[in-house]
Every structure is written in C-alpha cells, then in structure tokens.
C-alpha cells in the first residue's frame, strides 16, 4: 500500500513539472498553429543561465525563475516579431522547420559559450526529502511541483479572467472571427508566443535542479513534451496537464510494478489508444478541416 501511494505521489510530482514544461508549447500551438520545436532548447537555455547564476552567486535556482520568466517573455516577443511572424499563416510544417533551426542555433551557441558538458544545479536541498507517513517526498521535486502549480494557476487566471487572455483564447478558437470583433491578431500572436516562452523561465529553472543537462538534452525533452500535448490534445492547457500526469504516473507505476523499461512503451501505447478513439487527443477540439479530412 505504501508502495502504491509512494508511486502515485511521485508520479504526480513529476507530472506537475512536466505539465508546466508542456503548457507553453500547447499554448503556442493553440493560438498560432506553431509547433515550437525550439521549446526544449529554450528550457535548456534557461537551465544553463540559471545554473550559471546559481554557481556564481549561490541564489536559489528555483527562485531565479522570478528573473528568468520576464527575460524569457522578452526573448519570446523578440523571436516572434523578428522571426516567426514572417511565416504567419503558413502550414505548421513550416513552423517545425523554422523552430528546429532556432533549436539548433541555441544548441550551437550553448556548445560554444557554455561548453559541451553536463551541468546540474545542486542547492543544499537537492539530496533531501520530506518524510510523511512513510512516504518520501524529495524536496527539489516538491518545490518544483509547487512552482509549476503556481504558474499553471496564474496562466489559467490570465487566460480566463482577463481581456488579454480572452483575446488570446478567442484567437485560438477562431482567428478570423476574433479579428472581425476587433482583436489585433498579430499583437495577440506575439503576446501568446511571449507568454508561452515565458513559461520556460520557470520550467528551465526547475529542470536545472532536477535533471542533469547538456546542450543537446533538448531533443529528449521536446520529444517527451510533444508526446504529452498530443495525448492531451494539441492546444489544450487542461490536456497538457492531464497528459503530463499520465506520463508521470506511467513512469512511476511501471517502475514500481514492472520495469521502467516499459514506461515509454506504455505511455505511447496510451497515446495510440486515445488517438484511435479521439483523434484530436483527450481535450483537443476537432476543427472543421479535421472532420472533412
């Protein structure tokens, strides 16, 4: 019983962090139909900067997300205005090519400037746990998950309670309809891209503490995150949360009751099954062109 509870709790803690990392990716797809393959590279970029600041100043890496988030918001805005806006209206395939280019550029710059080696931030609590009723809760995982919950909560409030958020959601649901009622699609797109990128400010800071990383680590992360949002439904924030928790639980439960070797297989088997019955993913909405196809 303890074993089961331990596996469930750990799975949820891990899933919470995955959800945060996937949230920006799904938001950007939802609003702009851009599959941002550079999302993983942006996470690693933040992890590197966080690690660097931590190793020089000793400031807590997860706390540093307060600085990294606005920085990444700015970078996201610039990236959209400077690069991505030029392919606005093109097929998602085009966005994959372009953002893959951005990912490789970030990887290359990190290779040259930060060095091609593994890093990980190790604040004092990285090797400690809380013990609650025989269950062990690794502190870093708990702090990471708490930060994730805060960010996801904020994101939810912004998107559902503010005019800006409504404009973003309106554009996601029907961009021409939104334009018709006076929403400036270009401005909203830049804003959504910047917000999506800003989430990597927190996600990357947490990553730097929880997982060793090096410049090419972003390939592992982007494939995991894409799996999550496909399962949850491309573009759906709730879907990303559920997809991430499913992945987290799949990892800990298979490792506890079978072998971790099966976890990836089981996760993708779940994706296949879901797509078989719900091609749009768990929370995705079907578009008219999907039905016609």
């Amino acid at each position: 019983m303890t074993q089961l509870v331990q596996a469930l709790v750990l799975g949820l803690l891990i899933g919470g962090v995955y959800a945060l990392m996937a949230s920006g990716l799904t938001l950007i797809f939802g609003v702009m139909n851009i599959i941002n393959v550079a999302h993983g590279a942006l996470l690693i970029l933040v992890a590197f900067v966080t690690w660097k600041i931590w190793s020089v100043t000793g400031i807590d890496p997860i706390l540093l997300s307060v600085v990294m988030t606005p920085l990444m918001f700015g970078l996201g805005w610039l990236l959209y205005k400077g690069v991505l806006s030029r392919i606005s209206g093109s097929s998602p395939g085009m966005s994959v090519l372009l953002t893959f280019g951005i990912a490789i550029t970030i990887e290359g710059v990190l290779n040259v400037t930060a060095g091609n080696r593994f890093r990980s931030a190790t604040p004092s609590y990285f090797s400690e746990s809380y013990r609650v009723l025989g269950i062990s809760l690794p502190k870093a995982q708990v702090f990471g998950c708490l930060a994730a919950v805060v960010v996801l909560g904020l994101l939810y409030v912004v998107l559902s309670k503010t005019w800006t958020g409504r404009a973003i959601r309106a554009t996601a649901q029907n961009s021409s309809g939104a334009a018709l009622v006076g929403i400036q699609a270009a401005g909203v797109a830049a804003l959504a891209f910047a917000i999506g990128t800003a989430t990597t400010g927190v996600g990357g800071s947490i990553l730097s503490v929880l997982y060793p990383f090096f410049p090419a680590s972003h390939y592992d992360w982007i494939s995991r995150l894409l799996g999550i949002i496909v399962l949850g439904g491309m573009g759906s924030l709730a879907g990303a949360l559920v997809g991430a928790l499913v992945l987290g639980l799949a990892e800990t439960l298979t490792a506890t009751y079978g072998s971790l070797q099966w976890s990836t297989l089981i996760f993708y088997a779940v994706i296949m099954l879901v797509l078989l019955f719900r091609p749009q993913g768990l929370f995705g909405s079907r578009l008219r062109q999907d039905v016609m196809a």
């Binding site: 596996a7 080696r117 990285f126 060793p212 995991r224 971790l260």
Partner: protein, 420 residues
C-alpha cells in the same frame, strides 16, 4: 573511454527501427558496390613524398558532439607530435576530418567518400558502437585497416572482420573483470554479501553489468535486485526506493551519465548509502560527476576506465602536457586519450611493416603488442582487445587508479563513506 557517449549514441542507434536499419544496410551495400578495387591496391604510397592523408569521420555536432570533439583533439595532438618528430615513414601526416553529425547514414557516406573519392591513405575510427558498427563495414569491404578508439560492444567482433581493431583494453563484457578480481582479493568478511544491478538498456552498459552479476554470483554474492531502464529515463526515485528496500551491500549500476547521477541523487534523498558503489562510466566524467552528486559523495565510488592522466605509459606525459597547453590547462577527456591511442596503434603498425600496406599492417597487429598511452594493447583474431581495464576509485575528490598494480596511482582502495 568507451564511456559515456558511446553509450549515448549506442542507445539510440541500436533501437533504430527495422526500416532505418534496412536503409543503413542498403547504403552500406551501395557503398561497397561502388568501389571495386581496394585502395590499398591502388596506391604505392610508401614511395611518395606527398603527405600521408588520414581519413576520419567524427560526430562533431549532434548528440555525441562531446566525445567527438574530444576525439578530434586527441587525433590532432597525435598528428602534430608525429609531424614534429619527422612524420610517419618520413612523410608528413594530414588529417581529413569530416562531421557525421552523430548520424549512422552520414558516417557511412563519409567513410565511403574518404575511401573512394578522396582516396585517403589511412583511416581512423569514429566514436561509439553506433557509428563504428556501420563505418567498420565500409572499411572492411574496402580492405582498409580500421582502428577505432571506441565501440566495444561485443557484437562489433562477431562479424569475422580482419581489419577491425578496438584500441582499448577490453570489450564490454570484460570491463568489470578488474573489479571482480578486487572483490575476490578481499578477505571473506569484507566482501559484499548482496548486490543490486540496475542498468541502462544500452549495448555498452548491459553486457558489463550482466557479466559482473554472473562473476559475482560465482563468488557467492547474492543478487537481490536487477532492473533495466530505458535510455530516456530521467526519474530514479522509484528504482532507488526499490533498491533501498533490499538493502544490498553493493550497488553495481550500468550508468552512462545522467542516470548515474540521477540514481545517486535519489539514493541520497532516501538516505540509503550502500557499502560499495560501482558505476560503469558515469564516475569517469571527472568534475561533471563530482559537481552532479556533490564532491563529498564521490568518496569510494568505483568504476573501470581505459586511461588515467597520471599513468606513466609512454608519451602520456607529453600528451597531457600538450593538451593542457592547448586547452587552458585542461585535463584530457578519456575520449581524447583513446583517440590518441588509436592513432598510436596505426602508427606502430605502419612503422613495423615499413609501408601503408593495409593487409600487412592488420596481420602485424594481430600478432603483436602495441605500447600506447593507455598501456600495452593486443588483439585476438576478431580485433577484440585482450588486456584489462584499469580499476579506478574516487578518493579525496579525485579519481585514482587502484589496480592493476603496474598502473596504480594509489596504494589501496578506500571504504565508501555515507552520503554527506
């Protein structure tokens, strides 16, 4: 080092889809068909004053850029030292290095082009079993000597190749031998009684751990836990708590890098410290490892390794000094040393037979021992090396060599301390 990145590459590569594998085989076949005559027959190299061109393809970008870049440094230092000493067979040496982007298809294209279009005089190997497996096929079919600095998975050597040589001490399944010997040499009451064997699913780590388990079971060490986890595993708390439940004296992990750091961190979080800890290659990553788990926690961790910067092997001091001079006082990565050693092997063969005749060089290597910075290397008929890895241990925040005695940098092994 056979080490980590080999495995990194290896991991993805071996799990490649059947379609991809077909594509690769087809490419190899085409490549082979495209070149009828072996380059060794086309050249009368030894008589010319032209520089000797050595063709190499390395993963300079992509996932495996780290060991690839280090290998390049090793090769280049060798080239400059040889040229300073008057060259190879009286001719200057040039390297023609191409980038295979850590990709199996590209590495095949690269070596095919080096052999058939660029008509290089010699080849040197690339990094990892993943890339060396197809690359060595191209070399073998073209009659070219192929000495690889990495790529020690057992399946490299069951193909009956005659021109493939692995320039490290042993293949993967013999990597734990020195550690097992060390355990065997301990007084009965100091030996571990129980052991856990978690390993990454990787052609380089799995055979090491399987072989160790078999050998230790024969010594009476009871196996209490085994598991294999995938290359993309990032969360180790569940495995760590399963291990902690069994309380093994020894944890022997087939660890590439992140997984080694990840498991130790998770064990720390559970506050379970085994009496002995062995990891295949993660601990060989010097400061990356000690920073990852905390320097105080490295004390007593065992691993096996192909090279050490303090070894008193021929040329080692010069190699280490030159590397430090070029790269801001840095200590060479094992990958750089392995590449340098591979080049030393080719050099020794060419000098011994007095020409670049690929057949004669291969024949000579099959029956002779070569002194390298890793120590003496010798090979069986399949090109698999027949020596032993060095047994290393972290002591006082630095990696030391414990065995064999001839290469040892310290007198004795120390006991592992509990997590700090």
């Amino acid at each position: 080092m056979v080490k980590h990145h080999n495995r990194r590459m290896a991991r993805r590569g071996w799990s490649a889809s059947p379609i991809r594998a077909l594509g690769i085989s087809a490419t190899v076949l085409l490549a082979v068909a495209a070149c009828g005559t072996a380059p060794s027959e086309q050249k009368s190299s030894a008589s010319s004053d032209e520089p000797i061109v050595v063709g190499i393809s390395l993963p300079l970008t992509g996932d495996f850029s780290q060991p690839g870049g280090e290998a390049r440094k090793g090769y280049e230092i060798w080239r400059d030292q040889v040229n300073k000493d008057g060259g190879l067979l009286g001719r200057q040496v040039e390297l023609k290095i191409t980038d295979d982007a850590s990709n199996q298809d590209t590495v095949v294209t690269d070596y095919t082009k080096l052999i058939t279009e660029d008509k290089v005089d010699l080849l040197l190997g690339t990094f990892s079993t993943l890339l060396n497996f197809p690359a060595s096929s191209v070399a073998e079919k073209n009659g070219m000597l192929y000495v690889e600095p990495a790529g020690g998975a057992p399946k490299m050597f069951d193909r009956g190749y005659t021109k493939l040589f692995f320039a490290q001490q042993a293949t993967a399944s013999h990597q734990p031998d020195t550690f097992v010997k060390y355990i065997e040499g301990l007084p009965e009451n100091e030996r571990p009684k129980t052991a856990a064997y978690p390993t990454q699913d990787d052609p380089f780590t799995t055979p090491v751990i399987e072989s160790m388990q078999k050998q230790l079971e024969a010594l009476g060490v009871e196996t209490v836990y085994t598991t294999t986890y995938p290359a993309d595993a990032t969360n180790f708390q569940t495995i760590a708590s399963a291990i902690a439940d069994k309380k093994p004296d020894l944890i022997a992990q087939g660890a590439v890098f992140e997984d080694g750091v990840g498991l130790v961190r998770s064990l720390q979080q559970l506050n379970y410290s085994p009496k002995m800890l062995f990891q295949t290659s993660a601990p060989s990553n010097a400061s990356q490892y000690s920073e990852g788990i905390g320097e105080a926690n490295t004390e007593g961790v065992f691993y096996t390794v192909s090279w050490n910067e303090k070894a008193t092997t021929p040329n080692n001091e010069e190699f280490v000094a030159e590397y430090a001079k070029r790269f801001d006082g840095g200590i060479p990565a094992e990958d750089a040393a392995d590449a340098y050693a591979a080049a030393q092997v080719v050099q020794a063969a060419a000098e011994a037979v007095g020409s670049l005749d690929q057949d004669k060089m291969a024949d000579w290597l099959h029956s002779n021992e070569v002194e390298t910075i890793l120590g003496p290397l010798a090979w069986d008929e399949t090109g698999a090396p027949t020596s032993e890895f060095l047994l290393a241990q972290w002591q006082n925040g630095a990696p030391e060599i414990v065995a064999p005695e001839a290469a040892a940098t310290v007198d004795t092994a120390v006991a592992k301390t509990p997590w700090q």
